[in-house]
Amino acid sequence: MNNHGPKAKSHSGEAEGPNGDWSWVLVGALFISTGLVFGLMRIMGIFFVEFVNYFEESSQSISWITSISLATQQFFSPVATALCNAYETRAVVMTGGFLSGLGLIAASQATCLVHLYLSMGVITGLGWALVFTPMMATVVANISQRRALALGLGLSSIGIFSFTLSPLFQLLVEMYTWRGALLIMGGLSLNIMVCGALIRPQWCSKALKKVDSKPRSSCATVLRRVSSYLELPVLLERPYLTYTATITIFNAGYFVPYVHLVALSRMTGFSEYQAAFIMSATGVTDILGRVTTGWFSDLGYFRTIHLLSLWVVLAGLFIILLPVSSLTGSYAALMAISLLYGFCSGALSSLVFAVMPMIVGVERVMGALGLLQLIESGAGLLGAPLSGLLKDMTGNYTVSFIVAGSFLIVGTLIMTTLPHYFSRTDPPPPHRVPHDVKDRGVHLELEHINNSPSDTSPKGAQ
């Protein structure tokens, strides 16, 4: 059995550690594709002024475009991961890239607001769904040596892209009108297809299961296959449910400062530029947090899940301190707390994905992440309006920020109920019980993929 070790390495290709040149290419692909998804989503705001003038609609109806695209992306995540389980990830991501580009190109020809909702909202959102979660899951499943760092680097692109593309697109709108700029944005989105092309076909671990595809397609078999693609059984496991509940509660509070920080600064009495500067500085520490925590987590001094709890508690604390520091009226205090918050929120957002394989196992990460995205989207949709409502009721942001921060802290408390939370080393991740003799060999291989980095190497106590 001991010759399975090196063979296990060769199965996942050159994704692991020392032979990891191609794994860095994969991280680069994640970097670009995530940036082109969420970075572009963040700078959609540049077009809104143009849309309000051209279509003569209220800014609220225009802001529905972002909401629709985000909701579509999160809602169709399980569908995207199921498609990856059924077919090749590469095909899914390339289709996603094509769709997101197509949506933006169609938007450039829009003649009324509904066209924008359908093209820039639904089609592009669908494309992004087919891109983001599959790419994330591919990186998580196939990079085990420096997983958190890879994720941190990959996700840092959101901040970097929105920072650099923002003035670029202002210029493009000036030069080519919004139609021309949207056309170019669509072209840029097509680059996601390049990222998708970089995914090697054998990396999709579920593709191994295609071996036992039977020609008979009775209703029961089809339903069973579909539910296995969607990873629905994972919903019945307590660890996954606990973790999902935790992340959902995080989501309810996590976005609040991004939405309301500028308004809070303006209410404290600072000028528009000072408020905008706080947001930009927070964005920079966000990027720093993602990369730093990735590197630190991979050093192995602490378990990833402990680090995640730490960052979440700190982020919650800083969110609660934000209105307190604004009460003192000092710009330096508000800036300091915002920077610290930015760091912690960046740190926790990349670790959220890194913890998943330890809860459901590497081979189920794809479907599990898809379902997680869908479930957490509900909280994200509710979080910002809830804090807005609290602000309307009480007249200032203190209560809404305190509630948001407490969501994060409550979520951490729920996270402590995960099994083996308090043990010093990672427990062996669960794997599916094989229902077929043929699969047993596969199953043992996969167990080695899961166990080898964390058990055998001295840096294993992640």
């Binding site: 010759n3 030069m175 170019i184 297809m193 090697r200």
Partner: protein, 390 residues
């Protein structure tokens, strides 16, 4: 019989006690007013039954007084009476466009006596009266220096209140209806001045010096400059076959009475008039003008446009540069990006196809013999390998 008389006298006196005589709860107050100003006197009377209120004007001294009753619309409609009789009587008299002849004693009379309008009885006995004086004085002369400021970069405005015996509590300055901060002084001198260091479109307008007397007296000095004309955007973009609106604003005083637009062609400014061939539309208000151009064409409509605002002092112009963007301008960068994407994807696929056969021979496989096959059946072969190694 005597008992019956006593009883009826008692009842009568009781009934009379229920009826109360009229009494003032608010009396009119004396006023001093300037010519052409307006004045108001207010009077409220309580009683049971509700008393009637009348206003009378008294001229002359005792005993040769002249009484005139005032009605709504008297004195060429300059007198307005407003009375309500709900729970108690309240009456207000308004006098507008005061003249020197309106000076005198005004009397508010009230009575709830049922016999009050009997001509056979003397009115004084049944009516209660309350009096107030209205004194109308000539507007005191305020000498302003200078009387008007035109086209200067700085000035000192001063006001001198002459021939007035009214006590002065202080003075302040007002610009366009808003009090100027730090111009207030509690100096009781009849002289005040304001210095304007920089006269621009912010500080031009109607200045008034106000003396805090009873009543307040003021005089206006107009500070006029050339109109300050500025375009909303000095560089505008329009799309081919689309519509663009060029806008110019003006600030300062006095606002332009005339606006005109010009287009520069071959160094000559061609005037644009409203409705030239349905292409141009000009809409102007004193502080803003807009030029709407429809159906933009790249060669003909791009260039410099000038808006001119004219007021009584002169004309000022500003320039707007219009650029017309072609519809297809963005197509070239887009096609460039699409070409780049296609090339990169092709390179990746070709690279992979070339590497695949080499990869399998390089595999470190200690368990079983390596199998040479192409990439599509790769994973199936790997499974076969596993089973063999078991």
């Amino acid at each position: 019989m005597k008992l019956l008389w006593a009883l009826s006298a008692l009842l009568l006196s009781c009934w009379r006690v229920n009826a109360s005589t009229a009494g003032f709860i608010k009396s009119p107050l004396s006023r001093m007013k300037l010519i052409n100003d307006s004045a108001e006197l207010h009077c409220e009377v309580i009683g049971n039954p509700i008393p009637e209120v009348q206003w009378w004007f008294i001229e002359g001294e005792e005993p040769n007084e002249n009484f005139t009753q005032l009605f709504d619309g008297a004195r060429d409609d300059r007198v307005q009476l407003n009375a309500t009789y709900v729970e108690h009587a309240a009456s207000t008299i308004h006098l507008t466009s005061l003249t020197l002849e309106d000076s005198g004693m005004y009397e508010c009379r009230a009575s709830n006596d049922p016999d009050r309008n009997e001509l056979k009885k003397t009115p004084k006995i049944k009516w209660i009266r309350s009096q107030a004086n209205i004194i109308v004085i000539e507007t005191p002369n305020i000498i302003t220096e200078p009387s008007e400021v035109t086209n200067q970069t700085s000035a000192v405005l001063s006001c001198n209140l002459t021939d007035s015996s009214l006590p002065i509590k202080g003075s302040y300055w007002v610009l366009n209806g808003k009090t100027i901060e730090k111009s207030e002084s509690s100096d009781s001198a009849p002289f005040t001045s304001l210095s304007l260091d920089k006269i621009n479109h912010h500080s031009a307008g109607k200045y008034e010096c106000v003396f805090q007397t009873e009543p307040e007296v003021k005089q206006m000095i107009e500070v006029k400059i050339l109109p300050h004309v500025s375009a909303h955007k000095h560089s505008e973009h329009g799309n081919e076959n689309d519509v663009v609106v060029l806008v110019c604003d003006s600030h300062g005083y006095p606002l332009p009475t005339d606006w005109s637009w010009f287009k520069e062609e071959n160094d000559v400014k061609m005037p644009i008039s409203n409705g030239t061939g349905d292409k141009y539309e000009i809409k102007s208000t004193p502080n803003k003008t807009s030029l709407t151009i429809i159906d933009l064409k790249i060669e003909k409509d791009a260039g410099d446009y000038f808006c001119s605002g004219t007021n009584e002092l002169g004309t000022k112009t500003d320039k707007v540069h219009l650029r017309v963007r072609s519809r297809l301008a963005a197509l070239w960068p887009f096609l460039g990006i699409v070409a780049e994407v296609i090339i990169l994807v092709a390179i990746i696929f070709i690279y992979e196809k070339r590497r695949k056969p080499d990869e399998i021979t390089d595999d470190d496989d200690s368990g079983s013999a390596p199998l040479k096959s192409n990439s599509t059946t790769n994973h199936k072969d790997k499974n076969v390998r596993q089973r063999n190694s078991n």
